[in-house]
């Protein structure tokens, strides 16, 4: 779990079954375990009104466990980018009262939340649970490029190549942490790059 930090840094909870008839789960990798754990506490018939969309790790681990929950719909996607068109349509057609559950890596939770926010769903109404990697999505404040799966501090921008301090300051709109040049004042200063978000 993430250590205590500044206020803009997202805080995740534990999935819990919400009242309602329509439930949409979006998860990746070990996020499947959060859904399985919640299923153990869910009332009978809960998944009859549920759709699960899942991005497994290569190898397809946890797919069978999710299918065994017998959701009304189960969709497996190879990446978040490939899931995006379907997700946008699902959310734009959603009825009032749809319950949203996001589980897995911060990148997955953040990007799914971003799409849901654009569809007009309030972020406080979404259930979230962080599982798995602490890798961050980072926006370079200088060139605006997004670097996925950042695990080091500092980190190199995949677009402009500047060495960036990965801040805890987070934008839900961008689904990204902010990266700011760490040696802007004196480029000859080269702090060591260390594994920080495994």
């Amino acid at each position: 779990m993430a250590a205590k930090s500044i206020i803009s840094r997202p805080v995740y909870g534990t999935l819990s079954p919400q009242p309602g008839k329509h439930h949409l789960f979006i998860a990746d990798a070990e996020g499947a375990l959060a859904i399985s754990d919640m299923a153990a506490r869910a009332p009978a018939g809960f998944f009859e009104g549920a759709e699960i969309v899942y991005i497994p790790d290569p190898g397809g681990k946890h797919v069978a466990a999710l299918e065994a929950l017998k959701p009304a719909q189960f969709h497996q996607a190879p990446s978040f980018a490939s899931l995006l068109p379907r997700l946008k349509q699902t959310l734009s057609n959603a009825h009032m009262g749809l319950r949203l559950y996001l589980a897995g890596t911060e990148g997955l939770i953040g990007q799914a939340m971003q799409v849901a926010l654009e569809a007009g769903i309030d972020h406080t109404s979404m259930q979230t649970e962080h599982r798995g990697s602490l890798a961050r999505r980072m926006q370079c404040v200088h060139c605006k490029g997004i670097t996925e799966n950042v695990t080091t501090q500092p980190a190199i921008c995949a677009h402009c190549g500047l060495l960036l301090l990965v801040r805890d300051h987070y934008s839900r709109r961008l689904a990204a942490f902010q990266g700011v040049c760490i040696n802007a004042e004196d480029r000859s200063e080269m702090p060591p790059i260390e594994e920080a978000f495994p």
Binding site: I6, I7, S8, R9, Q139, V141, H142, K144, L162, R167, D168, H169, S171, R172, R173, L174, Q178, V180, C181, A184, E185, D186, R187
Partner: protein
Amino acid sequence: MGITFRKETFRDDFTFRNSPEHIRRFPFPFHEDAYMYAVNIEPHVIGPKGSVLENLIDVDEHYVAEMQDRALVLAEDPLRCQSLPHMTLAGWDLLELLMEQQALGYPEHFTLERDGDRWRWINRPLGIDDTFTFGDTSTLPYGPMEYITRQSQGDFCILDQRDGNLWMDAGMVTTQADWSLDFDIGMNFFEWHAPVPLAHEKGIFVRALKFLTNIQQGKPARRLNWTMTVNPRLDTSPENYHKWGPDRTTVTPENVGDKVHLRVELQSFWRLPRSNGIVFPIRCYLIKMDELVTQPKWARRLHRVIRDLPEELATYKGLTRYRPTLVEWLSKLDDGSATSSGFGPD
């Protein structure tokens, strides 16, 4: 009489200067010999003639040059001006406020004529004479917020009020002290202030939000904030930090007086009548050390404030590299004698 607008730059050759009258009117932000955060908000009412509070929206000798610098920033990076879709009405509110205030305070430079929704705006310093329909965006060359803030000194944030919070949902931000509108847009009051050290623990933001959400129409409020900038650079954005950051390594005992600037923000807060939003102008005033120390009281006081500033604040304000050089230089102007209370020069 009117203002004589200076021809000057805030980049490259940095020809920005304050005239002697503008030095005297500088909004020096320290009323005592020390500084710590406080909820220093007060009613934004007209102040003494010859001060920056002579009008509620201040226009000064840097107006034309600042607007030219803003146009350069926007040409390089249009993301410095953004407005979420639900904020257009608030943009019209702001246009009305700034046109009214500038025409009221400086009739020799600005004129607003209204015939129902048909408005004519004359801005003589910038050579603008436009007639448009209030509320109809297609009759202006930009959206209403961008149109008027390309003609008004200072940054502008428009805050939407909902769920008991304020949301940074629109802004024109080209003269900022190191924060990014593009990153922070859409955040609530606590989120966009998240990186500020110490103040959360002191409950500053909880109290400030309570105050701001209760601001009433026609009763604006204000506060001062400050930092320091090497070279008179308006655009000290995080976007360009890798370009201006190296300036901080260039301060020497010989050039402190010319290079180091006190940067004061006069922030004001206004309720907008149609949208119920709040506009938050952040007006930036710069003064170089050579100019500031022409007022002996300010020189003594600034020495004591910078010398005794808590380390976290010095780091947050980016002073770390040149603070020792600056304090040493200012110490020679501090004979240890008492300073009178209050902001003004003696």
